[in-house]
């Protein structure tokens, strides 16, 4: 199945894109998706401790199972205001 991944802030600069479609196996969770994305871009992995995940515009645990067509964001610490 495929899901859409969104990158913001420093992750967007690092990955050189704001979004991409990624193929993951059935049963994959958000953590698996992150591992998959950071295999293509090893620099991403060092940010993992300072990221929070969102699935379909809601904060989500890294253990959340994915479904086809999900929109997943890996969000750096927020700094609005």
């Amino acid at each position: 199945m495929t899901v859409k991944v969104l990158y913001f802030g420093r992750l967007k600069e690092l990955s050189g894109t704001s979004e991409e479609i990624v193929e993951v196996r059935d049963g994959a969770v958000i953590e698996d998706l992150f591992v998959r994305c950071s295999t293509a871009r090893p620099e991403l992995s060092k940010f993992r401790p300072s990221l929070v995940a969102a699935r379909n515009r809601e904060f989500a645990a890294w253990s959340t199972p994915l479904r086809a067509g999900d929109e997943v964001g890996f969000l750096p610490p927020v700094s609005g205001g």
């Binding site: 929070v52 995940a53 205001g81």
Partner: protein, 159 residues
């Protein structure tokens, strides 16, 4: 408990925020207090001189989170109306990046709700700012929003 008012302005914009108009529009004859928060671009950060800021957002989620903050405020503070507007893009020194206005019959609720709105926005709304200096740029240190608890991986049952 009141539902969010239909005319409440909860918004993400790339235009200059019309602070005075927003404050005026939350005002009704039943209110004795309007509290506002004007978050503006400061000319320094960690001892360096800031030239300007750039804001970006996960817009759909940011707007949804701002609406959740508004809903929470209506349930928990005796206020009349609320407005919360955040700007994106390049902002110059002195410009407003976020503006919040709350009207209430009495000042305590207006102050408290306004404080809750900006504090929660800064912790939970997916917006990011990059600070530009004469000699470089950095993404501002931020806060990691609280994430839902992890569920331990479940091993498939063997049979």
């Amino acid at each position: 408990m009141k539902a969010p008012h239909n005319e409440d302005r909860i918004e993400i914009t790339r235009a200059v925020i019309p602070n005075a108009e927003i404050a005026r529009r939350v005002r009704t004859d039943e209110d004795g207090a309007i509290a506002t928060f004007d978050g503006c671009v400061r000319n320094h950060s960690h001892g360096r001189q800031t030239l300007y800021l750039e804001y970006e957002a996960y817009e759909a989620m940011a707007l949804a989170k701002m609406q959740e903050i508004a809903a929470h405020i209506y349930l928990n503070y005796p206020i009349r109306r609320l407005a919360m507007v955040h700007r994106l893009g390049r902002l110059e020194i002195g410009e407003t990046s976020v503006f919040i206005a709350v009207s209430a019959a009495h000042r305590a609720a207006a102050f408290d709700a306004c404080r809750f709105a900006i504090d929660t926005l800064k912790k939970t709304v997916p917006i990011w700012k990059k600070e530009f200096f004469a000699d470089g740029a950095v993404w501002a240190d931020g806060e990691l929003p609280p994430a839902p608890a992890e569920t331990p991986a479940v091993k498939p049952a063997s049979n």
